[in-house]
Amino acid sequence: MSAISGGAAPVPVGTRVGSKKRYAAARQSRDRFVRFWRRLTQSRKTFAGLVILLIFLLIALFGPWIDSQSPSAMSGAVLQGPSTAHWLGTTQTGQDVAAQLLDGTRFTLLVSFGAAAVATVIALIIGIGGGYLGGIGGEVLSMLSNCFLVIPALPLVIVLAGYLPNKGGISLILVLALTGWAWGARILRAQTLSLRRRDFVLAARVAGERSWRILFSEILPHVMPIAASGFVFTVIFAIVTQSSLAFLGLGDVTTWSWGTMLYWAQNNSALGLGAWWWFVPPGLCIGLVGMALALINFGIDDFVNPRLRVTDLRRRGRRAARLSVAEVLAPHASDSAVVEAVGK
């Protein structure tokens, strides 16, 4: 006490104390992000995934400007293969497939990212909240997420969608989020349970920190990579599920998405007519986005599980080894508890 309040201690700090501190605080959060980002982009696979995803996001943003044709406009050019006029050919009613694809990208990505965002927020609240609170409340929340995990999603979505009077984007997002949050919540909970007993969390409690502050400041930064991985996973789930719904005709068939394209293609037996250009692109896009996301997940996995990193290191030989000797020498130092937590 005396040493602090006495003020006599020589403090070699200049006058820029305030700004320096703000700078440091900003740098603190940035540093971690930079480390995370560097780890992600270090791996070739993850980098490829990020690039693919970026391209699709750009298409979603600027798609309609790239190809100005209206996706629904019919023309006389029926069922034509790819040409300069119609890059990806036309449908049975002479609609431009490329225009549909570009337009559909926006809706598809909007719905799946939206659903994943909502699902991740639910997962964070239920997973971390339940994990940290413990007790009866925690048990109930855990039970709830386990239930949603076990109940097969698609039949539930189908049943839900079957009853839904309004099949627009918002209700689709909500239905997908409702069925897609449980997986993330379960893993976040496991992780939080292990973090809760870590010494640095106990130390923060002894330092007199309040619960909400411990949750946000001590625990949340550690579960972010896992939440990110859950987010990515949920996006894949949402894309595939919404396409499946649309394919079954349960979506709004007048909105263009990759799923509705497949629905119309199938309804008009595009494959039977040999119009592969109608049917193949939307599926390929789903696959590509899914793959891109999965590749990004590889990078997150490596970040979360240090042991996976070492393998990456082996592959790329000695030059890379020099960069990461720290992790190799202290393999248990940082986040290895994550592995155990996710394991069970």
């Binding site: 290191l313 000695r318 080894a321 020099r322 000797v325 720290a326 190799v328």
Partner: protein
């Protein structure tokens, strides 16, 4: 997993050169005539990635039935050494040079050069290892008996099921575990019992050399003492040698015949426990002896060692200990001293204060040292410290 390239390159060197830098082998034996070498480590250098040298030019001969203690702090390379002898190093750790000879009768086997099949045969039947944490070293989904059993089966296909079973019981009796625990899984045992089980597994094939990597560090003092007593008794009974790696100088002084003190990857002092206790020579050894409190006798003045252990990736030039040494000379900051051995004894020290001279061999080794790029990132923590203190 071990990179054999450098070894091949090394064995192409004139053999005499290797022997030249091997003072331990020549001189560092117990005075008795019965000394019979079992394992001989010659100029072993282990690197992590490029440039981080964990073990540097290490020489040691272990005699039959001898207990050699290797003492050092974290980052001193002691565990790396133990793993290297078993050839268990994993990437990016690799052996850059050196030889490890294993003597069987009149012939010697170069452990670093043997093929995989031969290595597999040598492992456990000749050399066995006991890890620090038995909880992690035992397979959680197999019973203890199954884990003994598969060693027996892998090395001797002629053994019958009953004979393997009997051997398992015999081993458990040997290390003092109740026989009904044979059917138990590792998580069902206490820490001390697990460590005993690990020792039982190690003894399964009556190896000649037992490598102990901090086998009792995780245990309570009382349990530790009991296990050490058991080990000494077993050594007397079975006659194996031990290479006992630990950070606890007091403990190793109780049980070892000979002790090698390691600092930053190098042997800095060697000798019998009595010698080290009565007449420590290297300032690091002296510092260690002044670091631990004693339970008996008058209270001593404890001085400890200032500073922090170095980071193997950024070793200071010259003697690695000089930044912490209060008696450091100018030469200490520039050149690594040679390991000087006292004629006719097993005492040796690597210190400029104790007769190290700039011989031809020493110069060669210094030159080689300087080639090592010392710019590796960091080891588990002391980097910042190091970076700043060695900076301008």
């Amino acid at each position: 997993m071990t990179n054999r390239e450098p070894v091949a390159a090394n064995s192409a060197l004139p053999r005499g050169a290797t022997i030249e830098v091997d003072p331990l082998r020549r001189n560092q034996r117990p005075a008795s005539d019965r000394f019979e070498p079992l394992v001989e480590i010659q100029h072993l250098t282990v690197e992590y990635g490029v440039g981080a040298v964990a073990v540097s030019g290490f020489d040691l001969t272990i005699g039959r039935g001898e207990i050699v203690g290797i003492v050092g702090e974290s980052g001193s390379g002691k565990s790396t050494l133990a793993y290297a002898v078993m050839r268990l190093l994993r990437e990016p750790a690799h052996i850059r040079e050196g030889r490890i000879l294993y003597y069987q009768g009149d012939s010697a086997t170069e452990l670093l050069a043997v093929e995989r099949d031969q290595l597999r045969a040598l492992r456990w039947s000749e050399l066995a290892i006991v890890f620090q944490s038995a909880m992690n070293a035992l397979n959680p989904v197999m019973t203890l008996h199954a884990q003994i059993d598969d060693v027996l089966r892998a090395h001797d296909r002629t053994l019958t099921r009953t004979s393997r079973r009997e051997r398992g019981e015999e081993l458990f009796k040997l290390v003092g575990i109740p026989l009904d625990r044979l059917r138990a899984y590792p998580h069902e045992l206490s820490g001390g019992m697990r460590q005993r089980a690990l020792i039982a597994i190690a003894l399964a094939l009556k190896p000649n050399l037992l490598i102990m990597d901090e086998p009792t560090t995780a245990l309570d003092v009382v349990t530790q003492r009991q296990i050490l007593d058991e080990l000494l008794r077993l050594r007397a009974e079975l006659g194996f040698s031990m290479m006992f790696v630990t950070h606890d100088l007091a403990l190793i002084m109780d049980i070892a015949d000979r002790i090698v003190v390691m600092y930053a990857g190098r042997a800095v002092e060697a000798g019998g426990p009595e010698d080290l206790l009565r007449d420590p020579r290297h300032p690091y050894t002296i510092g260690l002896l002044n670091s631990f409190p004693t339970v008996s006798g008058p209270k001593r003045r404890l001085t400890g060692i200032p500073g922090f252990p170095p980071n193997i990736a950024e070793l200071p030039q010259g003697c690695a200990f000089h930044p912490r040494c209060d008696r450091a000379l100018d030469v200490c900051r520039q050149q690594v001293p040679t390991f000087t051995v006292e004629e006719g004894s097993n005492r040796g020290v690597r210190c400029w204060l104790h007769g190290a001279s700039t011989t031809l061999g020493a110069e060669a080794s210094v030159a080689e040292e300087q080639c090592e790029p010392a710019k590796l990132a960091r080891n588990q923590g002391s980097d910042m410290d190091r970076g700043r203190s060695s900076g301008p």
